[in-house]
């Protein structure tokens, strides 16, 4: 445990000494804020027209549906692009500058290295999402949304981000080039994000599988306040898979 903490502390120090963490966190907050503003203006506009909508028998605007769901689903898109920027250097950089040799000749297990690094990513992600939690909080303070879906949706975004980070770390473990790591994980996550696209035309079991693999589909339950074991399993499997692949990649490095 002491080793995991030591690795994690060192990673955090690197994150906050270099400007990467600040840039990613600021960029994320800025983008989420802008989308929050957008969705909120749509909601206000709909509210102004609510009488007309009601007369025509349409659905009345709902704070949760319009703003919260929109913001959470958009967060996932932003994270597809920003998480790789956080994870690309995490292992690749060690290999390039030779510090990997120090880690592998120290009394540490590969699992400790992987867990320590993942823990540091988790801390950054907590900070990043924690700051952007201010937007839903504003709604709770000044509006009257349903609180449960806001919280469950936030947990969903958190799990999804950790899953993305875990995959990004695995990709970074396979190369010593940061740019290669960054681009490959961005492509991987983007592909995962749109994986359910051909489901409609495919149909059958294939469609079911593609829908299950899609983070958007899995997020849907969370943002609506319906947390299923199926979705939790999905995100936890993503995290475990990423950690497992990282562990394998680092172990394999020794045997080349």
């Amino acid at each position: 445990m002491r080793n995991i903490i030591a690795i994690c502390k060192r990673e955090l120090l690197s994150f906050f000494v270099s400007p990467i963490a600040y840039f990613v966190i600021t960029g994320f907050t800025l983008l989420v804020g802008y989308f929050f503003f957008n969705y909120f203006s749509i909601f206000l506009r709909m509210q102004q027209m609510s009488q007309v909508i009601a007369m025509r028998g349409g659905q009345l605007p709902n704070l949760n549906q319009t703003v919260i769901e929109g913001v959470y689903q958009t967060m996932i898109v932003i994270l597809v692009f920003l998480v790789p920027l956080l994870t690309m250097r995490i292992v690749a950089e060690e290999k390039r500058r030779g510090t990997f040799e120090l880690l592998l000749t120290s009394p540490l297990s590969v699992s400790e290295i992987v867990l320590g690094k993942f823990l540091s990513l988790a801390v950054i992600i907590f900070v990043m999402l924690g700051i952007s939690a201010i937007f839903p909080l504003l709604l709770i303070i000044y509006g009257s949304p349903e609180v449960a879906p806001i919280i469950s949706g936030f947990v969903g975004v958190l799990l999804c981000t950790l899953g993305f980070a875990s995959i990004g770390m695995a990709v970074s473990s396979f190369t010593e080039n940061q740019i290669v790591a960054g681009v490959s994980s961005m492509v991987t996550l983007l592909l995962l994000y749109v994986i359910q696209a051909p489901a409609e035309s495919l149909g059958g079991v294939g469609a079911e599988i593609l829908r299950y693999l899609s983070p958007i589909d899995q997020m849907q339950g969370f943002v609506q306040g319906v947390v299923t074991l199926r979705s939790i399993t999905y995100f936890v499997s993503m995290i475990v898979l990423g950690l497992f692949l990282s562990q394998r990649a680092l172990d394999a490095h020794r045997w080349r």
Binding site: R2, N3, A6, I7, K9, R10, L13, S14, V17, S18, R97, G98, T99, F100, E101, L102, L103, L104, T105, S106, P107, L108, S109, R254, W255
Partner: protein, 248 residues
């Protein structure tokens, strides 16, 4: 101590290290000498448990580098060819981190850091970022990192490269003092360094051991330089001889 038995490393068909055997006991400073590309770094990487050998075994501090790697790692200090520094950390932060992952007890960490900084003459740069250090200082921080947990066996890959003459003298003295109650394996391609610092020499060429002797046993009529030149060119001589035989 270090006990190497028929250690080999192949990269595909290429034999980087071929059946290397030698020993180094406690209190010995062994100079690991050879031209560039002789297999010094590969051998050292196997001894430091960074790479597994293709065949053969090696005991470092009494433990097998392949099957008891973790025990070995606890007992060795290792300075790779390029000092493994984190540029964005200060020297003090870096040594603290290395101390933690090498398992230095928390209570001793602070005194141990101060101790190695003094021994390696880096106390005055303790608050500098590693990326701002000159080559000589980087090398010395690398050496401090290798001895922070007071290891039984110290493996140094060209520790004096890039240092100025005064620093070289200081580092050689440090290595000598470290070697009194430990085992030190020192790779180098500087001949005088071996005769000045080491009490045993092992010469490798093309992945093989070509000469092994205590410095004290070297005869007066043959200098280390002559021995080195002879042993490094043995292969060519043999080749030439076989050519002559075939021709005759």
């Amino acid at each position: 101590m270090i006990e190497v038995k028929k250690l080999s490393k192949n990269y595909g068909d290429y034999k980087a290290v071929d059946q290397v055997s030698f020993t180094a006991t406690k209190g010995q400073i062994v100079g690991f000498l050879g031209p560039n590309g002789a297999g010094k770094t590969t051998t050292i990487r196997m001894l430091s448990t960074y790479m597994p050998p293709s065949s053969g075994t090696a005991l470092v501090a009494g433990f097998d580098v392949l099957t008891e790697a973790c025990q070995v790692r606890r007992r060795i200090g290792y300075l790779p060819e390029n000092p493994p520094l984190y540029g964005e950390m200060t020297v003090g932060e870096y040594l603290r981190f290395v101390g933690e992952i090498k398992g230095v007890p928390r209570a001793q960490l602070k005194s141990q850091i101060a101790n190695v900084m003094e021994r390696c003459f880096i106390t005055d740069v303790r608050n500098k970022l590693c990326q701002h250090l000159s080559r000589g200082y980087r090398q010395r921080v690398g050496l401090a990192q290798a001895i922070i947990h007071d290891p039984e066996v110290i493996i140094l890959d060209e520790p004096t490269s890039g240092l100025d003459p005064k620093q070289i003298i200081e580092i050689r003295q440090l290595i000598k003092s470290l070697g009194q109650d430990r085992t030190v394996l020192l790779s180098t391609h500087i001949l005088p360094e071996v005769s000045m610092v080491c009490n045993k020499v092992v010469i490798v060429n093309r992945g093989r051991i070509v000469f092994e002797s205590l410095i004290a046993d070297l005869t007066r009529d043959k200098s280390l330089e002559q021995i080195f030149l002879e042993s490094v060119s043995t292969d060519e001589v043999v080749d030439a001889a076989s050519c002559v035989n075939q021709g005759g």
